[in-house]
């Protein structure tokens, strides 16, 4: 070790673990900084709530609309619109995300409480997409890309049919994919 050449070689070799350690510390600092920076914003619940509001408030979907005064009655469901063959199309026209909608899907189930019979009507918004994403949401794959979240709401409504008003319940299931 008294050989100067040996000492120099040893010191050069000692620089290798020092530089490796320095690189590890630098990457650790960068990862720590990055971990405190928010990069994702989750607004799926808000999107679902706004979607439900749009359907209920829109004069062109399922709510009763008085054309004489131009007013939509939220909470009053027009059964003729709901049972219409083109109800799905009306819904998709009033909230249009494009021909290939991969943003949101929903199911609307209306139950007439005034009748003793099992009087239920179901319509869908973006049915194929809803069925596909509902499986993901129900299976628990709600986190990360490729997952989906489901939101359910129930409303006590009045069903309007030929100027006859009945009590009913409207159950809405909405699924929103994560990204």
């Amino acid at each position: 070790m008294k050989n100067k050449r040996a000492i120099t070689t040893f010191e050069i070799l000692m620089w290798v673990p020092r530089i490796l350690f320095l690189v590890v510390v630098m990457f650790t600092v960068m990862i720590l900084i990055r971990s405190y920076v928010a990069t994702t914003i989750d607004t799926s619940e808000l999107e679902a709530n706004i979607f439900i509001s749009r359907i209920l408030y829109s004069p062109n979907s399922i709510s009763y609309f008085d054309s004489d005064i131009g007013r939509t009655y939220q909470g009053v469901i027009d059964i003729n619109k709901f049972k219409s063959q083109t109800a799905d199309k009306f819904l998709e026209r009033s909230v249009y995300y494009g021909d290939n909608n991969k943003e949101i899907g929903a199911k609307f189930l209306l139950r007439d409480l005034s009748s003793n019979e099992n009087n239920e009507v179901t319509i869908y918004y973006n049915e194929d997409f809803f069925r596909e994403q509902k499986k993901l949401a129900d299976s628990g794959f709600t986190r990360g890309p490729g997952g989906a979240r489901g939101y359910s709401k129930k409303y006590d409504v009045i069903i309007s049919k030929d100027n006859i008003l009945n009590r009913g319940v409207l159950a809405i299931d909405v699924v929103v994919p994560n990204s």
Binding site: I7, T8, E11, I19, L22, M26, V29, M30, I33, R34, V37, A38, T39, I41, T43, L46, E47, I50, F51, S53, R54, Y57, S58, P59, N60, R71, T72, R93, S94, V95, Y96, Y97, G98, E103, I104
Partner: protein, 150 residues
């Protein structure tokens, strides 16, 4: 014979030259490490991806909420958390798209919104506004920048 003068530390055979060189190399490595980390922190601080993502979601949800309203609605959008005049705003094919002003090749942040086909948007791209005015009627949705701006 011993060498005399100020150069003894650098030219003497038994001088601690290695120690001085080691210290100089360590100082150099420390400075380089500082410069690298400082540049990284500057890039994180200047990054606008989060701002664009936030603005696109905010405006996309706003348009959905405007469509939900009954009657005619006019709303002036201002945001004190993000500088609107740093960005250009596009509203095409049911998507809000935001990109930095005056740049090419930057990442575009997009957020879809549900357009009401009975009340379609009939505007154009908006460049570096300080405010955005949304005006919704039964027939259409209009989006424009503040007319008082030059």
């Amino acid at each position: 014979m011993k060498k005399r003068g100020n150069n003894v530390h650098f030219f003497a055979r038994k001088a601690q030259m290695n120690e001085i060189y080691h210290i100089l190399i360590q100082i150099l490595i420390a400075v380089m490490t500082y410069i690298i980390l400082q540049n990284y922190i500057d890039s994180v601080a200047k990054d606008t991806l989060f701002e664009k993502s936030y603005l696109s979601k905010d405006i996309g949800l706003l348009i959905n909420a405007l469509y939900a309203g009954s009657g005619d609605v006019e709303y002036t959008y201002v945001n004190d958390k993000a500088e609107l005049n740093k960005f250009n705003f596009g509203f095409n094919e049911q998507k809000v798209s935001i990109v930095e002003s005056g740049s090419a090749g930057k990442i575009v942040s997009e957020q879809p919104y549900g357009e009401d086909l009975n009340s379609r948007y009939s505007g154009q791209k908006i460049y570096s506004p300080s405010q955005i005015i949304f005006s919704r009627t039964k027939e259409r949705l209009q989006i424009s920048r503040n007319s008082n701006e030059k």
